[in-house]
Subunit: 413 residues, 2 copies
């Protein structure tokens, strides 16, 4: 199937220089895709620390199980990502596949299998033949050249229509460090479990526990605040790797996430994760509109987020956006179904800077014409005030279009 | 917008004779629709008992508030239903509209306003001018003729493409009684709060409390086991009215829902509610497939239902059905995201009588060809065994098609 590129595809990609301690390589395995690279291997320097956040699916994939099991050691030497087969719901065969790949990679990198991390994305339930990966990996480690980070990201794509990369700078106690991030994902995207696949790399010397603290904190307001279709993948993986190479430039080693010296890094990481998360939503299957849904005046931030997600996941809100219909009544419906405290008679709704509803009814100044005009924008902000407290949250989603139906009616075949 | 009739539109409607104690009448108000009846008034004999189940939306409509407030009295004399305007999120104006209609109706029927029940369906947030209803009602009560139950049901339709009616017989202690049911609804259909609008009428002499017990019990396995789009309406209403006219034929009066003499009535009511609920799903906006989702082997019946709903509400499962793709991996995904206990390595999935997955992986006998052939059926049964307990549940839904997007991209305009 030829996918139309998303209208939100960035016209320019950020420059991403080589990053000390990381060596990305890609290969075309010929396992599912033809004529494109579908394997990413990132070799990492000794002492690289690792943190991760994974899907909460009760049917998570074999590589997710593997990563969860080994992450506790806090040390990484290689990341292996394949596209085209999720190695999910593959039973004992799946376990044996990841073990084969993990052991082969450990031999090539001269490390323990517990320092190998893996992710797989693609079809669920199809047995994965590990020999495609092991032979391509062997070739790469012997004769492979480093690739740039854009090429690295491209090798992980499935139904994605554009590359998702971001980069940020920070300093730790005066020493500049770099963060690179890549992500893939377009459908089967729902919050509260990170996204499909995203990987963050930094040369900052940050210990695994501190890295985990920062990642767990910022995932809530980035990937866990997005949804394309409310469907949670079996394979969602967000990992961060810190090579510590900046130590050689005098960078302080960070062992705790709340170390005040890591503040600008933390802010930069947060912004980078938000950028990547928004890119995933902007490439949401069939997306023609990007929606920012803000809920204020809720009982708590958590309640605000649940209401925002109810709005963001409503097929009726999403199809109205696709039809450029300022159908704020459907926002009322979604607030009502969310089950959180809301004062119907104080409820207010804004589209952009226009207040459409106020004190539980249509705003007296409501203009259908002006509201409809606003809906023609590609990026739409919807803000709802519940009138019961101080809690607030923002989530991001896209509209639900004919494109989504077309893509998902015959993705597998 | 001209809506294509659902492929599930019944080719024949059940015969529904006049029912003692009820007088249905309809009128064309010209409030929103042109050239069709959009007001249903059912006058009821003195002593008719009433029961109801309503939306759990926190933003429920003014008529829902009215019905909830007055239902406790247990006595009904008139039902007034309008299509085209939901009178939801209409603030104090909405309250004053229902009060005006309720008081006018009470005067015409010579009863208390608390014996008038109302329901409204249509656009949310649009002020409803009660004079359309009161003047049509006045005309009907003076000069109106009774209509048959099919015509009654037709007056409540909005995006429905076919009439939804059902009838059943039962006997109470040897005396035959009749139950007639009508329903409307096509989009904004989600379970756990009854459906858009459905009304059940019987000549059986069943006291309000007993009627409520029966209705509350059977709604769980009928309307509350359906979903079209996971979006819960502000206006969902299911009411039952019992005129007691069968007393004249010697029927025993029933005052408790667990009276053994009401057993065949209870079974007939349950079957009738299931019939109506399935009709609503079969007219789901854009539906081309009807899906029965059964979950077995769950920790409890409640857990089974939550997993069944996660499958039924998954856009990826629904679009796969639309595309006739036997994509059982998406069923695995939906089981995983439901958050209920499931043993991934014991999970089994059947499509019809074919087992596609077994013990946590693809069934060795899996045939893509045979599975694909099965997906061409209009009615598809998906059964999942979670492998952890004895709980089970069945829910009904439809597929997600281009038709849904088209209908909801410009419903309001």
């Amino acid at each position: 199937m030829d996918l139309q590129p998303s209208p939100f595809a960035p016209t320019e990609l950020p420059q991403m220089d080589a990053l000390d301690g990381f060596r990305p390589m890609t290969a075309a395995m010929g396992m599912k895709y033809q004529g494109r690279d579908d394997l990413l291997v990132v070799e990492m320097t000794k002492g690289t620390s690792v943190a991760g956040v994974y899907t909460k699916s009760k049917c998570c994939s074999a590589p997710v199980d593997w990563c969860k099991e080994h992450q506790g050691n806090g040390s990484a030497r290689m990341l292996v990502v394949n596209a085209g087969n999720a190695n999910a719901f593959t039973g004992t065969h799946g376990v044996s596949s990841v073990t084969t790949v993990g052991e082969a990679a450990a031999k090539l990198a001269d490390c323990s299998p517990s320092e190998i991390f893996m992710a797989s994305t693609g079809v669920i339930g199809e047995p994965l033949d590990p020999s495609f990966i092991t032979s391509a990996m062997e070739h790469l480690m012997k004769d492979g050249n480093s690739v740039d980070w854009h090429t690295a990201s491209a090798a992980t794509m499935t139904t994605d229509t554009f590359l998702k990369v971001a980069t940020a700078s920070a300093d730790i106690d005066g020493v500049p460090v770099t963060i690179h991030g890549i992500a893939k994902g377009s459908g089967m995207i729902a919050p509260d479990m990170a996204t499909m696949l995203s990987f963050v790399f930094t040369d900052a010397p940050i210990a695994a526990r501190a890295l985990q603290d920062l990642l767990s904190k910022h995932v809530e307001t980035s990937f866990n605040a997005t949804t394309v279709d409310s469907d949670t993948s079996t394979s969602d993986t967000l990992m961060a790797f810190a090579s510590g190479a900046a130590k050689e430039r005098g960078c302080a080693e960070i062992s705790e996430g709340d170390d005040p010296r890591v503040e600008t890094f933390s802010d930069a990481l947060s912004a980078l994760l938000k950028d990547l998360a928004k890119l995933v939503v902007k490439d949401g299957e069939g997306a023609s509109k990007f929606l920012s849904i803000t809920v204020e005046g809720a009982e708590s931030d958590e309640a605000a987020k649940r209401v925002a997600l109810a709005i963001a996941n409503s097929p009726l809100v999403k199809t109205a956006a696709a039809g450029e219909d300022a159908n704020w009544g459907r926002v009322v419906m979604a607030v009502g179904k969310a089950g959180e405290m809301a004062d119907r008679d104080k409820l207010a709704i804004w589209f952009g800077s226009m207040r459409l509803a106020h004190e539980g009814q249509r705003d007296p100044d409501y203009s259908e014409e002006v509201a409809s005009e606003y809906m023609k924008n590609a990026e739409i902000d919807i803000c709802t005030h519940l009138g019961v407290g101080e809690g607030s949250a923002t989530v991001w989603t896209c509209d639900l279009t004919h494109g989504y139906i077309t893509i998902n009616g015959d993705y597998r075949s």
